[in-house]
C-alpha cells in the first residue's frame, strides 16, 4: 500500500494508451481490480506494456498480495513449469483463455486458482522479478515496497523527473529498468504513456511527435537501433533527457549520443544497476560524460559502493538492496537484506571518485539487453543431451556452446537452444574443441575457453 499511496498522492499523474492517444486517464479513472485481501497470496502477472496490463499491476500494488512480473512472450512450457512450481493464487495472462485448475472471472481479466492453499509470506516481500528473462528461470529476486519506493526516490533525485513530463514506457515493466521508469515517474512524474516496447514502430514516433515525449530509456541495443534509424539527425522539441542502462554501451556510441545531447541541450544519462538492487545503483552526471565515457559513474543518492579488496568485486549498499532469491514457494517466508550486495562485477575507482566496470564474475551473458543465466543453459542442455556441453558468453555478443565430443551434432544443439530460449541463430554458436580446459580443482575453466575462442 505504501508504494501505491505515494502513486495515488501524485496529483499530476495521468495515463495514456499509445493506441488511443486522445483519451487521458487519471488513476481513479482506471478500473482497478478489487481483490480479496484477508490472506496474502501470490500472483504471476505476464505483463505487456498496455494500459490494461499496467492497470492489473497497479491493482496488485494497491492490494496486500505479492506479484511476480513476467514476460508474456515466455514459451508456454516455461509458463506451465512456473505455475506448477509456485501454484499462484492469481494469474494474469492475456495470451490464454483457459488454464487448468483456474477460473476466469468475466468481470475481471484474471485467473483465480480453484483450490487455494495458504502460503507463508514474509510481510516485506511484495514483488518478484525474474533473474533471467527468456530461460523461464524459476529464480526470482525478492523486493519489498521499501526497495521499490527508495529506488524510485533515488532515481527521481538525480534525473530531472517532474509533473509536466510525458514519459513513454518503452521498456518492458517486467524488466527492472522498465519497472523503475514506471515507479519513479508514477510517483514524481506526470503522464505515463503505455506504448510499444519497441522503438522501431512507427506509432512510437508519432507518439513522440503528438504527445511530446520528454524522455526515452534504452538498453545498449535500443541505442544501436536509435543510431541506425538516424535518431541523432533530428530534433525532438519536447525531449529533455534520455537514459541508458542494462549493460555497457560501446564507447563510440556514448560519444555520439553525448555530442548530440550537448548540441541539442538534452541530457544523456549513462547508468548502472541490476535487478538485485531493484534497478539502479549508479549514474554518470551528463557533464562528466565526455571526460569519463567508460565510467558507470557515482552511486545514486542513498547508495554506497565499496570494492572487495580480496577479489576486486564491486559491492553496493543501500535501501534498494533486495531481500534474497526465491526458487520455490517456501522461500517467500523469508526476507533478509545483505549488508552489501555482491554485484558479480569487477570494478575500479578513479581518483575523481568515478567507478568503472572491468570484468564479470557472474555466469551470465547479456544478449540484446536480456540477461541469460549460463548455468541454466547448461542444465537445459544436460536434460536434453547425454554428452556434456558447456555454455560461455563472448563479450555479450555471442553464446558459445562448447563441447569436446566430436559426435555432437552442432546444428541440433544450436537449434535446441535457439528455439527453447527464442534466440536468434546468429548469437548462438556451437564450437567443438579437442579438449575442454579444466581449472586446478577440476571445474570447467570458462575464462580459458573465452581466451581459446579469441585466439582461435
Amino acid at each position: 500500500m505504501k508504494l501505491f499511496n505515494e502513486i495515488q498522492a501524485n496529483q499530476q499523474l495521468r495515463f495514456i494508451n499509445e493506441a488511443d492517444p486522445g483519451k487521458v486517464f487519471r488513476l481513479e479513472d482506471l478500473s482497478l481490480l478489487s481483490l480479496p485481501g484477508n490472506t496474502r497470496r501470490l500472483a504471476l502477472l505476464y505483463l505487456d506494456n498496455t494500459l490494461p496490463a499496467i492497470t492489473i499491476l497497479l491493482s496488485f500494488l494497491k492490494s496486500p498480495h505479492v506479484c511476480a512480473l513476467l514476460s508474456p512472450d515466455l514459451a508456454p512450457h516455461f509458463k506451465d513449469e512456473l505455475e506448477r512450481r509456485y501454484e499462484p493464487a492469481y494469474i494474469y495472462d492475456p495470451a490464454r483463455t483457459d488454464i487448468t485448475g483456474y477460473q476466469y472471472a468475466a468481470d475481471q481479466p484474471l485467473f483465480t486458482r480453484d483450490t487455494l492453499k495458504d502460503v507463508n509470506i514474509h510481510p516485506d516481500v511484495k514483488l518478484l522479478l525474474s533473474t533471467s528473462g527468456t530461460t523461464g528461470s524459476p529464480k526470482f529476486v525478492k523486493l519489498s515496497e521499501n526497495n521499490l519506493l527508495e529506488n524510485a526516490k533515488s532515481i527521481a533525485g538525480y534525473l530531472p523527473v517532474c509533473g509536466t513530463d510525458v514519459t513513454p514506457l518503452n521498456l518492458p515493466v517486467y524488466y527492472s529498468y522498465g519497472l523503475s521508469v514506471l515507479t519513479s515517474n508514477a510517483i514524481f512524474g506526470g503522464t505515463l504513456v503505455c506504448c510499444h516496447t519497441d522503438i522501431l514502430n512507427r506509432e512510437f514516433w508519432s507518439g513522440m511527435e503528438q504527445l511530446g515525449y520528454t524522455s526515452i530509456a534504452g538498453v545498449p541495443f535500443v541505442y544501436e537501433m536509435l543510431d541506425r534509424i538516424g535518431f541523432t539527425k533530428k530534433d525532438y522539441p519536447s525531449l529533455k533527457y534520455f537514459t541508458q542502462a542494462g549493460g555497457r554501451l560501446r564507447e563510440a556510441l556514448v560519444h555520439k549520443f553525448a555530442a548530440y545531447a550537448s548540441e541539442k541541450r538534452y541530457a544523456f544519462y549513462v547508468m548502472y544497476g541490476q535487478t538485485e538492487a531493484t534497478a539502479r545503483m549508479a549514474y554518470l552526471p551528463p557533464a562528466e560524460l565526455e571526460r569519463h565515457p567508460s565510467a558507470i559513474g557515482v552511486p545514486i543518492p542513498g547508495g554506497t559502493f565499496d570494492i572487495d579488496p580480496d577479489n576486486g568485486e564491486l559491492l553496493y549498499a543501500g535501501p534498494n538492496v533486495f531481500g534474497g532469491y526465491v526458487t520455490g514457494i517456501n522461500d517467500l517466508s523469508d526476507y533478509s537484506q545483505p549488508a552489501w550486495l555482491r554485484t558479480g562485477d569487477l570494478a575500479r575507482k578513479d581518483e575523481d571518485g568515478f567507478y568503472y566496470i572491468t570484468g564479470r564474475i557472474n555466469r551470465f551473458v547479456k544478449l540484446f539487453g536480456s540477461r541469460i543465466n549460463l548455468d541454466e543453459v547448461e542444465q537445459l542442455l544436460a536434460i536434453n543431451l547425454d554428452v556434456p556441453v558447456k555454455a560461455v558468453g563472448i563479450e555479450d555478443k555471442l553464446m558459445l556452446l562448447v563441447t569436446d565430443r566430436p559426435e555432437v551434432d552442432e546444428q541440433t544443439v544450436a537449434a535446441l537452444i535457439t528455439t527453447t530460449l527464442k534466440l536468434h541463430p546468429s548469437v548462438v554458436k556451437v564450437w567443438t574443441v579437442p579438449e575442454l580446459p579444466l581449472t586446478a580443482n577440476g571445474k570447467t575453466d570458462y575464462t580459458r575457453i573465452q581466451k581459446m575462442y579469441a585466439e582461435r
Binding site: 512472450d73 519497441d198 522503438i199 522501431l200 514502430n201 512507427r202 514516433w205 541495443f221 544501436e224 537501433m225 541506425r228 534509424i229 538516424g230 539527425k233 540484446f368 535457439t418 527464442k422 536468434h424 541463430p425 546468429s426
Partner: protein, 79 residues
Amino acid sequence: MSNTEKLIHAFSEALAVPQETIQDDLAYQAIPEWDSITHMILISQLEDTFGVAIDTDDVIDLSSVGKAKEILTKYNIVF
C-alpha cells in the same frame, strides 16, 4: 538467383523462418520471429545481399516484405 529469390533468402535467413513464410504481405511483428532484433539483422542482410546502404528513414518504413521490394526499387534493385 533472381532478385526475388535473393530477397526471400535474405528474409528467411534474418528471421530464421522457412522461405515459404516470406510472402509480400508478411509484416513487421506479424510473427514472433520478426521483432526489433531480427529487423536490425534483416536490414544488414539486405544491405549485404544487394550491395546497398539503406537510408535511416527506410529502416522503419521497411515494415513488410512488399514494402522491402518497394524500398529496394528506389535503390535500383529490380524485382
